[in-house]
């Protein structure tokens, strides 16, 4: 009998082996010196991997792993991934499950490391969908320790890749949360004597806020320094107006100026260092921006002043006065402006912060029969999560056991808590009210409804509105044009200006450089977009892009799909008509008891309607469904027939005036059903897809906004007209086949107006895509509706009104900003050049130009912030 070499796995004859060893009472045989050498260094590892009876123990030596793969669903071709994984030696089985987005691999962990697996997946063009976390490491100073910590983390099972950054004192770790936890990673770091910072997963938005705070302090330090230096500089610059200083002799003054020259140097190169590094970087790329202008202006002022006091003789009489005040004060003001702008900007992302704040931080999952409290990032698809009353649902999923009422108002706007039973969907970030339940996680991390909402809002906030393209074009040419204008100003004043020409020429040229504010132009659109789209999100409206937002303001026609948009999309019991001697409750009792056995949606409506009235139902017997006619059953010993006119004729029931009443119900868009008991007509029950409570109000609001409302439906004219009358829509497109909806949208567009289509996003997708703006009504976790430009997560038509209001308010704000920025530059530049001088003798002081420039961009951000007070006509909650 042959034995297996525990190191290389080769089958060898025990009699001819190279060497043998005893370990833990078991004998091992080796084929070569190499193998026995390996065994000797770590006998335990190899001994544990084998069992005495079967040679290799498959359970210990082969590991199975589900690797979540990103992007697998979209790319249909997973063959390459599968084959490249299979080609790896040590791999025994690869199954790629595209629907689940998982590659299941069975491999020999001695041959293939997780890092190698990650590499293979990456080289096949995919990303591993593990968790990434950043762990701060305190007092990490030496570069050599980085290697040890990286090695230790890499050796932790489940870790895919590691990089430790000394500069940021952070380890970035990609890992599979099913194999390891944050606590394990922290232990790995601690084993090298370092203290990990509490590895609470930091939201990028918090980080950004912290970075803003730091940057604000940095700017303010620079501002205070520049402001402090500005005081003595101003005193000497305006010596004529300062008592005591005005009595100084020319020599003393010149000496003081020399001092200010030195004092302003650190202002230039410390407080104003950003301008110079920025200007230099831009210059290297043959581009120019605000930094270039400020750097040029202040540097020119400083150089001129310094030459003027060092070599007064080379300048004409009276021109050798310095103006260091321009250097110090302008830098102080512009830095202050930047700091204030930063503050104001922080408020523009409030909406996103609010959304992210909804996320639960931890989850209680049941793994291997144990309840574990883990960070929400580590919850995996398929985990069973336990939720107690008063807790937030951590991720999206389906209830397995238990029941409760869940407050979903933060995501759906539905103010009443939704009752949840096993099989129902729960959404992450909603609040569990009454009962405890367990659910299976179906969407985690980036896939949860909340994460998708946040991502969508962020993407939209960063997208571009077409209106910004004009500002972009202008700002591409703006700065060089300003420079040329400054040169031109210099020439004009030098050639035609009053004496001392050199001073006038230089001051005006510097003023031109300083007053120009390309930032205000650049900020105008993105700031308002950020606030506007955030405001939409707060009101349950997800606007996908700046383009959608801009288009929505000009909507002239809104097409509403009937079913599910104007109406609830689900039939309800609406009317009962009683024949003589019948009570409503008795009639409904019989009707609902019969329909209990039917699965038709109309039947469900009757059963629900009866239950809602608190009517107890009986068990029907002899149930018979007659397709195209109705149903017959025996309830409480009475023969009940429920159906249409054909059914009644078949049963030869005398309907009397019921037939006329049924017709009038049908005219109202309802579906009447006759009922006969024991061969006598008993009455009519009517069901209808009822209109949402607020549809009429929303439609009239749209009409008041000057928008034409059109209803589109596949229903017949009569039903369609009935609903249209109820909600006040004049124009109805009825009997439209689903595939013709897009064509009808196109026909309305041909009238030359911007058309919005509101529908459910699945059946109406082509029509939504055809419309200028497609608004999809989302439900539950399904928020990322591809075809739509705008998603209304609250399911109410009032969202359409609010969406258009948000769009109009935001676009108005953008226009104010752009107008302001253009006017500012269009007026400021000529004034700085001195157009007013020949007529009124007014010349702009460069200090005032600096102040104007600094606060123009603050004003733009401030104006965008005004949007935060936007209140929709129909406030939510």
């Amino acid at each position: 009998m042959t034995k297996k070499d525990p190191v290389c796995g080769m089958e060898i004859d025990p009699d001819t082996v190279f060497a043998s060893r005893e370990h833990m009472g078991q004998k091992f045989y080796f084929c070569s010196e190499d193998c026995v050498g390996k065994f000797d260094t770590d006998p335990h590892r190899y001994a544990m991997a084998t069992s005495a009876t079967t040679g290799v123990n498959p359970e210990l030596s082969l590991a199975q792993l589900n690797i979540p793969i990103q992007g697998l669903k979209k790319n249909s071709d997973s063959v390459q991934l599968e084959s490249s994984l299979k080609a790896q030696s040590g791999m025994s089985r690869v199954v790629v499950n595209r629907a689940a987005g998982i590659a299941q691999v069975t491999y020999d962990p001695k041959v293939i490391t997780l890092t190698k697996l990650a590499e293979l997946v990456r080289s096949a063009g995919y990303q591993i969908g593990g968790t990434q976390t950043r762990i701060g490491i305190q007092n990490l100073r030496c570069a050599s320790c980085v290697k040890f910590i990286e090695g230790e983390l890499r050796a932790t099972p489940g870790v895919l890749s590691v990089s430790v950054n000394v500069a940021t004192q952070e380890a970035t770790v990609d890992y599979l949360p099913e194999k390891t936890t944050l606590a394990d990673l922290n232990t790995a770091i601690e084993s090298w004597g370092y203290k990990p910072n509490p590895a609470t997963s930091e939201e990028p938005i918090d980080k950004q806020q912290a970075a803003h705070e730091k940057e604000y302090r940095r700017l303010m330090n620079r501002f205070w320094f520049a402001a402090f230096i500005s005081l003595p500089v101003l005193v000497t610059a305006y010596s004529k107006f300062v008592p005591f200083v005005r009595d100084w002799s020319m020599e003393t003054l010149r000496l003081a100026w020399g001092m200010t020259a030195l004092l302003t140097l650190p202002v230039l190169f410390w407080s104003g260092s950003d301008f110079f590094t920025g200007a230099w970087a831009a210059l290297k790329h043959r581009s120019a921006n605000m930094n270039s202008l400020i750097a040029l202006g202040t540097a020119a002022a400083w150089l001129y002043s310094t030459i003027a006091i060092l070599f007064p003789s080379i300048f004409p009489e009276g021109t050798s006065e310095p103006f260091y005040d321009v250097v110090a004060v302008v830098i102080a003001l512009v830095v202050l402006g930047q700091a204030l702008e930063l503050r104001a900007k922080g408020r523009t992302s409030e909406a996103i912060k609010k959304l992210m704040g909804l996320q639960a931080k931890t989850a209680r999952v049941v793994r291997n029969g144990q309840e574990l409290d883990i960070p929400v990032e580590e919850v995996l698809v398929g985990d069973v999560v336990q939720v107690r009353p008063g807790e937030k649902v951590p991720v999206d999923g389906l209830i397995l056991e238990g029941s409760s009422a869940v407050d979903e108002s933060m995501l759906t706007g539905e103010s009443l808590p939704a009752s949840k039973r096993p099989g129902d969907e729960v959404i992450g970030a909603t609040l569990n009210k009454t009962g405890a339940f367990k659910f299976r996680a179906t969407k985690v991390g980036k896939d949860t409804a909340l994460a998708q909402i946040v991502k969508m809002v962020q993407d939209a906030q960063n997208s571009k509105a077409p209106i910004a393209r004009m500002a972009d074009k202008v700002s591409g040419y703006f700065v060089p044009v300003v420079m040329i204008l400054a040169v031109l100003t210099f020439i004009l004043w030098f050639d035609f200006g009053p004496q001392p020409q050199l001073v006038y020429a230089l001051v005006t040229a510097v003023t031109v450089l300083i007053i120009a504010c390309p930032c205000a132009l650049g900020l105008a659109t993105p700031m308002s977009l950020m606030v506007g789209i955030g405001k939409g999100a707060e009101n349950g409206i997800l606007i996908r892009s700046g383009e959608a937002l801009q288009t929505a303001q000009g909507i002239k026609i809104v097409i509403l799909d009937k079913t599910g948009t104007i109406t609830k999309g689900k039939p309800e019991l609406t009317d009962t008509v009683l024949a003589a001697a019948w009570q409503e409750n008795d009639l409904l009792h019989l009707a609902a008891s019969v329909e209990r056995s039917s699965e038709h949606p109309l039947a469900e409506a009757i059963v629900e309607g009866a239950k809602a009235k608190g009517i107890a139902l009986s068990e029907p017997s002899a149930f018979e469904a007659v397709p195209g006619f109705g149903v017959i059953a025996t309830v409480d010993g009475r023969r009940v027939v429920l159906g249409n006119l054909k059914m009644m004729n078949r049963e030869k029931i005398n309907l009397g005036d019921l037939e006329q009443k049924a017709t009038s119900l049908a005219d109202d868009g309802k579906t009447p059903m006759y009922m006969a008991v024991d061969g006598q007509a008993a009455g009519i029950v009517a069901v209808a897809d009822t209109v949402k409570e607020d549809s009429a109000e929303a439609i009239s609001a749209l009409q008041k906004m000057g928008i034409e409302v059109v209803m589109i439906t596949g229903d017949n004219q009569r039903t369609a007209q009935a609903i249209a009358r109820k909600v006040g829509v004049d124009r109805v497109l009825a009997e439209v086949l689903p595939e013709d909806k897009a064509k009808n949208v196109h026909l309305l567009q041909a009238e030359g107006k911007l058309v919005a289509m509101v529908g459910d996003g699945i059946n109406d997708a082509p029509a939504l895509a055809q419309a200028d703006v497609g608004l999809a009504i989302g439900t539950g976790t399904d928020v990322a509706i591809e075809a739509s430009d705008i998603t209304l997560i609250k399911g109410s038509l009032k969202g359409v009104v609010t969406a258009i209001e948000v769009s109009r308010a935001t676009m108005g704000n953008i226009k104010q900003n752009l107008f302001g920025a253009f006017i500012y530059n269009a007026l400021g530049l000529p004034v700085a050049m001195g157009v007013l001088f020949p007529f009124f003798g007014i010349l702009l002081n460069p200090l005032i130009a600096g102040a104007a420039m600094a606060f123009s961009s603050v004003t733009v951000v401030g104006n965008a912030n005004r949007l935060r007070s936007f209140k929709p006509k129909f406030s939510v909650k």
Partner: protein, 125 residues
Amino acid sequence: MTTAQIIVTLGGIALGFFIAWFFWFAPKGQTRAAMSATGAQEVAITVKGGYTPDVIVVKSGRPVRLTFTRQESSACSEEVLFPDFNKSSLLPEGQPVTLEFTPEKPGEYGFQCKMGMLRGKLIAE
């Protein structure tokens, strides 16, 4: 007109033309993306006062992997946007951030900071 004025006038006009030429007409340096072993075109970009490199040439139809490292704290450059690809990312200071996408069609695609002060261009051939 004095001699000084004539010199300043002529010099100024020349400077004006130079500015126009320098910023608008002079050819810009381009950086061609290196092809990695996996077929992605990789470029590392430093963000400091501008994007270095700022004109990047890639082949269309192949994935592009751009790694931005921001080496300044100025809030202006904290985010990089690729409006044509609907991609954007925060750039925490000192941390490499990789953006990956595939330009399907040849053309010029701009990228920029949020307010458009820093700009770069991706040329897909």
